[in-house]
Amino acid sequence: MTEVNTSKNSLRRQSGLAHVINYGQFGNVTLNGPSLFICERHPLTILQLDTNKSKTLTDISNLLNAEFPHTTNTCKGDDERRIIWLGPNRWLIVEPEHGCLQTLIKNEFNSSEVFLTDLSHGKSTVRLRGRKARDVLMKGSGIDWHLNSFGADYCAHTKLFDLAATVDCRDIDVFDIYIARGFAEDFWGTLMDAAAEFGYQVD
């Protein structure tokens, strides 16, 4: 058994990928360097928000000072906070861990109008970046990854390498992939295998 430091400050949030990530360059890295950069995003706050009251949503929007995407398959926000369309009246709010987002909303709104579900620990998030990122996605999912169909601020909930995944196109060649934590290790292996022919760097 490893020694555990019980002091509150060093409480470890341990990612689902903690035991598999190896840093460095792998696969078919040529003189031009890797075509792909892969890293885990952790720790994050991932909150599912569900409401069918448009007034409430506007109020939340004001409270958070963030816009909610109303078009299907789109996202809004920046690196600090990302709001992803999930389904009818349902969004995913993602931001670096602060721990207060849920409380912030809960304190302001009635629990019969806004429904919050914390999924921060239920998902593992991998960022895939680089000019071959779309080629990797093409190996795992049947949706059209062409820039014209899936550009920046698009998102998709899809079957990626046989797993339910949410893919958020942060920028032309930057993708955040959310998958269930329990599959994280396996997904990581699959992703590395699919990326090997392009050469990749794990940051």
């Binding site: 190996k139 046989d162 797993l163």
Partner: protein, 1005 residues
């Protein structure tokens, strides 16, 4: 290098599309040869004068190279060796690579001395369907089959794991063009210029198709100039993807076309990080099928000898590969194509003895060139027979009577080592047929062509029967523009180059030549004309019967060269037009495809993703032996550091774990249980409908056990649900039904009761869950929660608390599966391992132990709790002794169907406990309960053992749960468990299913 070349005695000194500066070593049947880059194995063998390459399937007749493409019926070889061995590979489709190793097949001991040649002599007795008529008596088919199976089959399989990798890729496009011949290239240029997203796939290493095998001129320059110019333009278009070595093998629903890309088949082995093949799933808005056509043979006696090949193949060998497929050639044709072959062969120095044309009129425009090259044409004539056992040496020619049924004049024999045959061309309508289309017969080309459009796949060029090059180029352009228009794109200009071809004089059908001897229709499966006439005689006249009775078209070439000839002969026998006979259904794949790319990277340990709990790594490092639970891996039990895995140590470990929980405290990972977050004003009402018991009165901070039924009234799942807040509930399900229960609830919320204000979300992965169980569990918990009162009153049975464990938010449920005082602790998954370790540390004072699914299973049996083996989808609540949970005050899912007579039957098997009378015997789950173990079958079955604990460490003897017919339970206390599979019988006592703490004092304590 010159030394090498001298060995390629059939190689031309110049011309062709091979690189004479790049010689390539290869072996065939162990003999060393040399070919050139750009060769196929077939062209390289022909260049080296090798004619005999294989033996036929049934009669083991010597066979050579028959075609120059994927339609090859004869030249099948075993390619590579060891773990990369590939049987049944077509020599005509293998690109030559350094060190290539090929072996002939279906012969023993060797190609020249195949002892099963005897089948050729026995062939009169081996006509179509002969085995249906015999081998019926003793000793039975299985006996004869042993020998027949050995003789059948072609190549050998392998027992090795494939060392190569496979990949998959999903692509989208506006226009998919299948086939990179003149039609496809022309279409691609137009579509590309129009700005459409285009994918052009072709199964060859380079584009050009038929143009590569012909001496066509486009705009007065050799055709390859035009091809190269087009390819250059297409390469420069960002919206066009050209995929060579990519074979589209199937056209499926929703205009999805699948293809296999041969990434490294043309290399000795894949490069680093390179896969061998890649499966493409192409989703197209429109598809242009420019798949070309395949030449047909003509059926005549001994038409299968090495040295006989398709006329277009002979042409391709001289033109593309600069190989003379023979020295002295006879051409046998019923259409213009034979003349092209005659000219190209003559031009390359092959002596053309004669063109035998079954038509009465020779096309006039050929006369000039025939005279120039001094080629004799024998009109109204046919090849009647051929000679030469291991290779053709002469050909018998005769004149055909007017009605085509007899030979008129005295036939004569000419010597020749090459016979090039053209029976006309059949458009490749396979993909069109896959897409749902039905081909129709076209008299003017004597072949099936695409009929009405099916889905969005349009055929163009030779694949729809347009055999003129100008037509192909024009059609490709036109169809691409039609599609561009339909896609709201600007139409594009393209100037179609001028060709040097002659007008085509129509084919006159000639399917078979009269006369005796073996006339092969299907060269691969050795189906002869007489097999077809026999099938007709016996009434196997529908094309599908014909195919199945004679095996016509059932080989690896899928009948590409034989189907139509066979059908035509049947039509003649029936005196019906071919279109009435119809054609067999073309099934994907278009050409045989390897299994590897269909599995992609999901092989070995990657088969089905592995799901791990947040504490997995801890388990792994601390002696856990894992067990598969669906996709999850769960600790089954834990071995001590010094223990090796063994049956004995397993038993020891499990007993240890049970005893620890029963006497002190244990900790088990239950993260795999399904967890569903339920919120909304109508949550209670919804639970009332989903569960069989009542939920409206459940207070906040309390949990309740419930069962769900399916609509048919049988038990679906069980679990607990807790009320966290006024409108907030937390449900757990069994591990195996987690996904199904969520979908089940979503269905009712979205489809049946959309008026209910309820949201459900899976939070299985969000929470790491562990059950702290045992009489000392409260002590451990109170240490973990020093500021919270956890005594029985403050935190009673079925109580729920949301707390903070050393800064980690946690939900604690006082529920019990083991029957002990127990707390299920849920923490956000990233804290799972930390809290798990903390609990074990805190619990050290009480000798806490982690326990696995085995110990948990024993304890739940001791407690009479039902699980998977009891919830098998066939049991009712009453069968499980849970009828008390069926509310009579409300309707719930399943309440209307659960009272059907069969489900209320008093004699239905009901859950019981079972204890061996000797208190020792290990009763297997799956044993059947009977009255008397000595009865002979069929034995009346009174029930079965569903779950067994070989030893209940708590009770000191084995126990089981099982089901016994209701009427038996009333009348008897003893029953026999029999397991004929193990040759075991044990007498059991029927008891209450709850063995342990029947009053549930322990968990309430």
């Amino acid at each position: 290098m010159f030394r090498f070349q001298s060995r390629q005695q059939q190689r031309l000194d110049d011309g062709g599309q091979i690189n004479r500066l790049a010689p390539i070593n290869f072996t065939f049947d162990g003999k060393k040869f040399i070919g050139f880059d750009g060769d196929t194995l077939a062209s390289a063998l022909l260049a080296n004068g090798v004619r005999l390459v294989g033996r036929s399937f049934k009669y083991h007749r010597p066979r050579g190279i028959y075609s120059a493409g994927i339609e090859e019926p004869n030249a099948l070889v075993a390619l590579r060796s060891g773990d990369r061995h590939e049987p049944n590979t077509r020599a005509t489709a293998i690109e030559l690579f350094p060190g290539l190793e090929a072996k002939s097949q279906n012969r023993w001991p060797n190609l020249l001395l195949d002892y099963l040649q005897i089948n050729n002599l026995l062939s009169p007795f081996l006509s179509a369907g002969f085995y249906y008529k015999t081998f019926m008596g003793l000793p039975g088919w299985h006996f004869y089959e042993y020998f027949i199976r050995k003789a059948a089959g072609m190549g050998d399989g392998t027992k090795f794991k494939d060392p190569d990798k496979y990949d998959k890729k999903h692509v989208h496009c506006d226009i998919l063009i299948v086939g990179g011949g003149p039609t496809g290239i022309s279409a691609a240029v137009t579509a590309g210029r129009a700005g459409a997203r285009v994918i052009l796939v072709d199964n060859h290493p380079k584009l050009g198709g038929q143009l590569n095998g012909e001496r066509y001129f486009l705009d007065k320059k050799p055709a390859h100039h035009w091809v190269e110019r087009c390819v250059e333009e297409l390469d420069g278009l960002e919206n066009v993807t050209i995929a060579t070595r990519t074979s589209a093998f199937g056209y499926y629903d929703s205009d999805v076309v699948n293809a296999i890309e041969s990434v490294s088949d043309h290399l000795p082995e894949p490069l680093d990080y390179q896969c061998r093949q890649r499966l493409w799933q192409i989703r197209a808005k429109k598809v242009i099928l420019a798949t070309g056509a395949t030449e047909r043979p003509i059926v005549f006696s001994n038409n299968d000898r090495p040295g006989i090949m398709l006329a277009s193949a002979a042409r391709r060998y001289v033109n593309q590969y600069a190989v003379k497929p023979g020295k002295k050639a006879v051409i046998f044709t019923n259409n213009d194509d034979g003349y092209k072959t005659a000219f190209d062969l003559a031009r390359s120095g092959v002596e053309v003895v004669a063109v035998v044309d079954s038509r009465k009129n020779i096309p006039e425009h050929f006369e000039k060139e025939l005279n120039e090259k001094d080629i004799e044409v024998i009109a109204s004539s046919v090849v009647i027979d051929t000679y030469g056992y291991f290779g053709l040496n002469s050909v018998k020619i005769g004149t055909l009577s007017h009605d085509g049924k007899t030979i008129e004049s005295n036939p004569y024999i000419v010597s020749a080592d090459l016979l090039a045959v053209s029976g006309g061309w059949s458009p490749n309508v396979h993909l069109y047929c896959h897409s749902g289309g039905e081909p129709v017969y076209n008299d003017s080309i004597e072949a099936f062509v695409p009929g009405e459009l099916s889905q969005n796949g349009h055929s163009a060029g030779a694949s729809r029967g347009s055999f003129s090059l100008t037509d192909c180029l024009q059609e490709g352009h036109n169809i691409a523009n039609t599609m561009a228009k339909a896609l709201n794109l600007e139409v594009a200009e393209q100037i179609i180059p001028e060709t040097n071809e002659n007008t085509i004089v129509p084919i006159e059908a000639l399917w078979r030549v009269p006369g005796k001897g073996k006339k092969f229709v299907d060269l691969q499966d050795d189906v002869t004309e007489s097999d077809i006439t026999l099938a007709h005689r016996e009434g196997y006249v529908s094309v599908e019967h014909l195919k199945r009775y004679t095996t016509l078209g059932m080989g690896t070439d899928q009948g590409k060269t034989s189907n139509l000839n066979g059908q035509a002969i049947m039509a003649q026998e029936k005196s019906e037009p071919i279109e009435k006979i119809g054609t067999t259904t073309f099934r994907p794949p278009y050409t045989p495809i390897a299994l590897g790319p269909l599995a992609g990277r999901d092989i070995g340990l990657s088969y089905k993703h592995t799901r791990r709990s947040a504490m997995h790594n801890w388990h792994k490092q601390n002696g856990a032996i894992f067990v598969e639970a669906g996709q999850w891996l769960r600790p089954q039990y834990y071995l001590n550091e010094m223990e090796q895995p063994s049956k004995e140590n397993m038993d020891k470990a499990i007993s240890r774990e049970v005893q620890t929980v029963r006497t002190s405290v244990g900790l088990v990972d239950v993260s795999t249980l399904g967890k569903i977050d339920i919120q909304g004003k109508d949550s209670a009402e919804f639970l009332n409908r989903v569960y069989t018991n009542g939920w409206t009165k459940l207070p906040i901070g309390k949990a309740r056990y419930g069962i769900m039924l399916r609509e048919d009234g049988l038990v679906f799942d069980d679990g607990t649900t807790s009320r966290l807040d006024e409108f907030h509930y937390f449900m757990t399900t069994t591990t195996s039904n987690a996904a199904a229960v969520l979908s089940h609830m979503e269905y009712y919320l979205q489809v049946q009761w959309p008026e209910l204000d309820v949201r459900v979300t899976s939070v299985t992965e969000q929470w790491a869950a562990m059950a702290l169980a045992g009489p000392k569990s409260r002590n451990v918990l109170s240490k973990l929660l020093p500021t919270i009162n956890v005594d029985n009153e403050s935190f009673p049975f079925m109580g729920v608390r949301e707390v903070d464990i050393e800064g980690v938010p946690a939900r604690i449920f006082r529920i019990s599966f083991s029957g002990e005082l127990s707390y299920e602790i849920n923490v956000p998954a990233d804290f799972g391992e930390f809290i798990w370790q903390r609990i074990l540390e805190v619990g050290k004072a009480h000798s806490i132990r982690p326990y696995g699914t085995e110990a948990m299973g024993i304890m739940r049996i001791e407690k009479g709790h039902v699980a998977g083996p009891e919830l098998d989808g066939r049991t009712t609540a009453a069968d499980l002794g849970l009828q008390k949970l069926l509310s009579t005050k409300k309707d719930f899912i399943g309440s209307k169907m659960m009272d059907r007579e069969g489900l209320k039957d008093k004699n239905r098997p009901r859950l019981v406990g079972l204890v061996p009378v000797d208190k020792k015997s290990r009763v297997k789950s799956g044993a059947i309960l009977v009255k008397d173990p000595t009865l002979a079958p069929p034995v009346p079955k009174l029930g079965h053992v569903s779950s067994s604990a070989y030893l209940s460490p708590t009770l000191g003897h084995p126990i089981s749960l099982g089901f016994v017919s209701g009427d038996i339970i009333e009348t008897t206390k003893k029953i026999w468990a029999v397991s004929p599979l193990h040759n075991e019988n044990h007498e059991l006592e029927i008891t209450d299913p709850v063995f342990y703490d029947q009053k549930s004092e322990r968990l309430h304590d």
